[in-house]
Amino acid sequence: MAVLIWIPVVLPLLLGAASALRRRSGWTLWLPVSAAAVLLGVGVALVAVVGSTGPLTAADGLLRVDALSAWMLAVVGAVAVVALWGGIPHRTHQGRNIGAFATLLCLFLSAMSLAVVADNVGLMWVAIELTTITTAFLVGARGGRGALEAAWKYVVLGSVGVAIAFLGIVLLSAASHGTGEPSLSWTVLVAHAASLDPALTRAGAALAVLGFATKAGLAPTHSWLPDAHSQAPSTVSGLMSGVLLSVAFYAVLRVQAIGDAALGPELMRGLLTAAGLLSLAVTAGLVITQKDFKRLLAYSSIEHMGLLALGAAAGGPFAIAALLLHMLGHGLIKSSMFVLAGRILGFAGSHHIADVRNLLRRRPDLGGPFLLGAAGLLGFPPFVTFFTEVAIIIAGFQRGLGWQMLVACALLLVVFAGVVRHVLAMTVGAEADRDAARTSSAPPDRPARFRQVPIGIALAAAAVLGFAAWPLSGPLLAAVAALGGVR
Amino acid sequence: MTPGSFAVILVHLVVAVLVTPLLIGVMRTVRARLEGRVGAGVWQPWRDLIKLLAKEPTRAPGSTPVLTLAPIVLMASSLVLCALIPLVSTVALASVPGDLFVVVSVLLVGTVSLALLGLESGTAFGGMGSSRHMVIAAMVEPTVLLSVYALSVPAGTSDLAAIVQARVADPISLLNPVSLLAIFALVVVVIAETGRLPVDNPSTHLELTMVHEAMILESGGRDLGWLELGSWLRLTALLGLVANLAVPWGVAPDAAPLSLLVGVGAVFAKLVVLGAVLAAAEVFIAKLRLFRVPELLAGSFVLAFLSVSASYLVF
């Protein structure tokens, strides 16, 4: 069974190598997709296996898959399938260096898998830093000043943030000296939480959370995110927004588990609440007058990460289960939205909201799903995000974060207003169609039905997930238990 | 449901229909005399009515059934009003008591049918009259409800007959401030609802001041006859109500023929006196500008409101 752990780490590497070799073939871009599909498959299998036999370990305990890791693997796989499949450009639009592109995507997947299955905090840190490195090239892939600037900011801010996390890990490691068996293993740290040095744990956990929060796009260290997401190719934006942030947040959750076990929940709760509310506030402030639709989506990711942070701050099985499910729901919807945004960009030739009008009439194949996806992002039922948002807020109230949740609700309203305003401006309207002549004379570049499939699947899944009590409730509870259970 | 109450209703209707034109005649005559004219005599309204009812009405092509129905509805509502208000006797139908709110809504049915007729006429005048009429009706509404509310508080019911009976039983209450304020407010209401001076001038055809007349300007013949009679009946009913509330003696407490006879005599006397006073007063008042009417109505509303509050706070 332990081989299952190795597959998600190694297989993408192999496929990456393959795509580096077959760099111009039409099917090269399908290699990352298949890597993602394998991830999904392995993730689901691991969820089942871990559910029945308990956690698996490999490589002398360096790698370990418990219910939470298995869940995260499945999330990474599912979202990556959508983002990668949906992001495969039309044959005529494929660039020259697709080999390198596919290789980097595979490496990226491998790094994320490693981050999720590593039992060693240090190893996980290495993996997360690796994701920065792979995505840096992906962000800059399009070339041009914008991409360069975004990549520079991304790498500098990202690495500095992750370096802070490393400092935190160093301190955590030092804290474990007192236990007699210094270790960086999650399991050991959580198990020996009581005997960790409190001052060092306090500083270590706080710095680690701050560092990983940078990568997770939580305010106030979110600054790289809008630039990177808006400049990266849509596939990459979708992947980063849909899973990279979640994987980083997974690291936050693990650190939080240690901190809570060693120090009680107050410190982590305070930090995460502050980060969550700040993220919502930043989103609220910046969506109102937003002019760029990819940045709009990027800010929406910050908002959702803020919600996750609030959920983590609330804690407890209900909130944690909700935030894990939210990762999946948000990932699916957000990656489809970025894919759609990429197509809209191709169609309208501009990032600007003002340049995109009347999508629902001019391009119903883009406008319809875009509107639906926006509804999902805003938390309308039947999308799963509805349940998770409600759950997070209610859990927050239940666990004594009353006024924080009230503030969050107020900020959510502003975010809602901003997003709805812009989405409506893009999709509907009765204005005379400026480009009507052009679009009607040019042959409509309707994509094949086939290209709609991943988006359709993602949105449908996001709509159905909320009601899927049977397959999901068990694994979610198991994942919560893996984090230390009821606190 | 007794034969007595049927008899009472029948008496009410007959008295109202017979007396009303006479009352109008009296009022016109009083006014004419005071203005130094001879006047057409007290029977002239009767003569007008018979003449009008025997004449053919007209209709424009494309007009709607409202043209025909509105006069009948107005007439019917006025008759129901007369049946429900304790003019002669306080015996009421068990299932259709002269409930304050029912009475007001029946009154409003007439108001609305007049207003719709005004609009149906399809001219600027009709619409103008209708509009003014409805605004006044709307602004009168609070006063009506509050003033009778004030009167109903001591009686503990909204049944007008019961209120009148209670006032007979407790004559001291007639002179207390609650009662006086309410009655005064009610008088203003009656004036406004029936289109008397200073709210409306019933005898004007000056376009800028017309309210009631503007609405019925397009009607003629039988339609006009019904409209006139219906409007007059409203005056009778409301004046009768005010009279019986202010001076509740003489109203028959049962359906015995004798007391009914006394009741008829009493209400006739009260109506004639009140009508004459009203007509006399009208000689000395000028019509208010339309947009000062709300001030008058607001004043009456304040009186009514005070009377309600007073009924709770003072007594």
Binding site: F387, L424 | K55, L119, A124, M134, L145
Partner: protein, 676 residues
Amino acid sequence: MSALLAPTLMDAGLLAQLAVGGLAVVAAVLAPPRARNLAAGGALVATGLAGAVTGVAALLGVEAGGVPVPVALPLTAPLDALVLAPDALGGLFMALAGVVVALAALFGIGYAHGAAASRTGWTAFAVFAVGLQLVPAAADAISFLLAWELMALGSTVLLLADHAARGPVRRATLWYAVMTHLSFLLLLAGFGVLVAAGGSTSFAAMRTAGVAGPAADLAFVLMVTGFATKAGLVPVHVWLPRAHPEAPSHMSAAMSAAMVKMGVYGMLLLTLRLLPAGPRWWALVLVALGAVSALYGILQASVQADLKRLLAYSTTENIGLITTAVGVGLLLRDSGQSAVADVALVAALLLAVSHAAFKSVLFLGAGSVLHATGTRDLDLLGGLAARMPWTSGAFGVGALGAAALPVTSGFVAEWVLLQGLIHVDARTDRLLAIVIPVTMGIVALTIGLGLLTFVKAYGIGFLARPRTSAAADAREAGVAMRTAMVAGAVLVVGLGLVPGPLSQALAAAVAATGVASVNGAGLAVGAAAAVLDPVALTALAAAVLVPLVAVNVVLARRHPRREVALAWGCGGERTSPRMEYNATSYSEPVVRVFRASLQARRAVDVVHPDSAPMIVEHMSFTQETADVVESRLYLPATRALARAGDLARRVQNGSIHRYIGISFAALVLVLVVVAL
């Protein structure tokens, strides 16, 4: 738990609604365009009827076993499972929603065209209908919010349906979506407070927890504001006059007649079921909210020239009256006058039912007019009574109901409300002695202005001569639309004629005593010792009418009516229909009298020929009435928000040094916090 899950007839009804609603979606998606209206609309009529039957059963006291909603989130203790199980009060509102949905869907079969008849349109309607009918079925906070948001989603999409045709749709949708979300978030927060204080999401457990004190106050404020937003009360009514006009008319009917009622249901749920022992000021808040809304709503309605906007503001008025009634009921319960309190609560429910009936007719009628003439502007209509007799008749009945004239449901409802008000014993309570008369005055003024409003709506729109060729060429609506309107009109009159049994059932739903049915049809208010028997009243009117009509017929035989072309205009010269009074001029006196609160802006533009400044060549007059709440409250708020947005952009000004600085500050802060 097993008892809870035992299937009952009730559950079958609930599941049937879901199933038929799903069928409607399938029909909407699969049916060919020509058959789509019939298939999807038919299925939705069935959905509505299923809701009506289930609701009536619940109203009559049939116990619900509870239909569990499967959700992926593991609901661990102390949270409770999601369950649909309506009680009697919920049953009433479910039945109300069901009937309105059935009427609207029936109307939609004939009416829906363009985007409203598309797959998306009907699917959205189905989602809306199911959500709407299940809101009152929810037995816990989360399923309540779920149904609530389904309702919001469906209605938002439907509201968007006509976006391609008219510009204002987008703005209306934005307003609607934001206000709806405001309502949702407030409810979410309110439920959050209740769950935190009471320890459970189930309504039954919240009630037994007996939450009181500041938590209850906070929950009350949050949730009442949330429900008020949905119900369209001032000052959170602003979505209503924008959304109702722009939605397809059958949708407007469903929104106005049923959806806003869910706000009322919520308030009742909150004050009667979840937090039954609230302090006195809660009731006063409701009375104030209701009274202000009623007066403001009708004042705005009376000066509107857009028929559907007028109806929308009138909805604010009616919900205001309902809220006032609820508030008075609670106030009196608090004062120990439970008999009169019951009357007020029953009045609230009667007002809700009656409003649902007449407002659906009115909106459907307006839809029929819009369908036939292409305009909602009363100033361009006229003469429709002769051209569209069915529509005109139904709208007329609806207008009578809205004006609360006998013998309609509106009259009965307001009669009960007024009876409740005047029988309050305020002698010992100075607060009541002030509040009740003021309320009475406001209610009375509202009724008066309502009368004016609907006389205007009907008289200007349907009587006299058509003002434009669009109105002149109008044709009567098709069978489905006619049937729906007439069915609604029959309900308005039927409920007005036979209010007794309904009132009795309503009284049972709020555990009220003292309101009983008499003579089979009539209504007796025990506490007030008052009786209303509309049948007898009708009989009296008929008895009066018979001789009157007889005389009239005889006279008409003798002197038949003469048709004269010159009858219009004093029988004198031929006048143009443009010289008729129109809606704007009709409400001119109101604008003048209430200029302080209406803030009308007028412009008279006179053009003289160059040669002769004394001669008028052309003259135009425009008048705009503003929504004061909107211009004083919302515009500054949105401007402030935009300014805040501009300010926030400085955070993200593109300078990497600023970003590093922010991160650095965060690091230093965390270090300091950790070290201290």
